[in-house]
């Protein structure tokens, strides 16, 4: 039982760390990383709860599998947005509207 508690606590710590940093950090890339870390904490809790009996519970595992795919898509979209917000790194002026602004 201590192993279960340990894993649930670890999942909670990782989740809280990720959420707090997601909400407080201003660097967009670090924010995306923090969101991914937070989702890792959620997955840890779900999978620990799935692994209680002799056979693991397939329903939370399927949920986590779905979550991983969605997080990968969210990460890609978020990074594309971050890239658009920050510009391509060539221009020092942050360009907000960025219409066709290839250097």
């Amino acid at each position: 039982m201590t192993a279960t508690t340990l894993l649930l606590a670890a999942g909670a710590i990782v989740f809280v760390l990720g959420v707090v940093v997601t909400l407080t950090v201003t660097d967009l890339i670090r924010r995306v990383i923090a969101l991914n870390v937070a989702s890792g904490g959620v997955m840890l809790i779900l999978l620990r709860l799935a692994d209680r009996g002799a056979d693991p519970d397939p329903v939370p595992q399927a949920l986590v599998l779905t979550g991983i795919v969605v997080m990968a898509a969210v990460t890609g979209l978020a990074l594309t947005l971050a890239r658009r917000v920050e510009g391509d790194g060539d221009d020092l002026e942050p360009d907000e509207d960025a219409a066709g602004g290839a250097p």
Binding site: G41, A50, D55, L65, G67, A73, R84, G100
Partner: protein, 300 residues
């Protein structure tokens, strides 16, 4: 206390430590590196928690595709400037709500696997018992792919002028990845594997093919969007079969459920792979003058 307990304790400690490093360290490069390690450790931990399907998906997607995206984003080493804050709380709440609603369905799912058409319980949940979740998930991925393509500043173009070494690399890697993807897909009916993992591997093959200038591996434009959306379309068609034959939405007859699941998984694999590759290429797309930079860090 045996060796496994010690391994688990070390693993969990490392996960928490690396997670803390990944979110707290200031440098983007350090945070990304720590996140890559975090993904690998999570995959190990999922394997220890009797979730090999999730471990495969984590290794391919959480650590692989997401890691490649982040490594690619690192190239832009701008000093971060303050931006307006926007909270992604709804997403996390949605995940938590999903967790709460799945409390006691496990035994029910395991007891009815025989009627699902496949013998692997996770595939049965994903593509039969809770196929609505999977349908919506594929829709999310397709919307993200179309959105990323719309947001990206440059259109993705096939790579040109590739050196022979990269061509040789592609000719070795891509057949292996295609074979692996097909096997993971077919294995999903009876053992860990399935459309998501196969799709992630196929996406890796497409991205490598794009970076190495292999023809027809750059999903873009309407053709790419159509290929990405075909999984959703097939899933909806499969869902309508139930009502058409007097059943309910997304109901599969045990007589043909196995074949239907494998067929829709094959289409989903292509859809997921194209969508993920589109997202990756949109997030990492460069214009012509920076094309060489695009090859860095996009190898899951």
């Amino acid at each position: 206390m045996n060796a496994w307990v010690i391994l688990d304790a070390v693993l969990v400690g490392a996960v928490v430590l690396v997670a803390a490093v990944a979110v707290l360290v200031r440098s983007r490069a350090a945070a990304t590196s720590a996140f890559l390690v975090f993904g690998i450790l999570l995959a190990l931990l999922w394997a220890r928690l009797q979730a090999p399907d999730v471990a495969m998906a984590e290794a391919a997607l959480g650590g692989g595709v997401a890691g490649a995206l982040l490594a690619d984003a690192l190239e832009r080493r701008r000093p971060p400037r303050p931006v307006r804050r926007r909270a992604p709380v709804p997403l996390i709440l949605a995940i938590a709500a999903g967790a709460a609603s799945a409390a006691e369905l496990g035994p029910l799912a395991r007891d009815n696997v025989a009627d699902s058409g496949v013998s692997h319980p996770i595939t049965a949940v994903l593509l039969n018992f809770r196929s609505l979740d999977t349908l919506l998930e594929i829709a999310v991925v397709v919307i993200a792919a179309v959105g990323a393509g719309a947001i990206a500043r440059e259109r993705v173009q096939p790579e040109r002028g590739i050196d022979p070494i990269r061509r040789a690399l592609a000719s070795i890697l891509i057949p292996i990845l295609l074979l692996l993807s097909g096997w993971i897909l077919a294995a999903g009916s009876t053992q860990p594997g399935g459309a998501f993992q196969a799709g992630a591997v196929l996406a890796a093959a497409l991205i490598i093919g794009h970076l190495c200038g292999v023809p027809f591996t750059t999903p873009r434009g309407r053709g790419g969007a159509a290929l990405a959306g075909i999984g959703v379309l097939c899933f909806v068609v499969l869902g309508v079969v139930g009502p058409a034959t007097g059943g309910v939405w997304l109901q599969l007859d045990p007589a043909w459920a196995g074949a239907a699941i494998l067929a829709v998984e094959a289409v989903l694999t292509i859809g997921i792979a194209v969508a993920l590759a589109m997202i990756s290429l949109a997030a990492g797309s460069r214009d012509a003058s920076r094309r060489d930079d695009a090859s860095r860090g996009a190898t899951p």
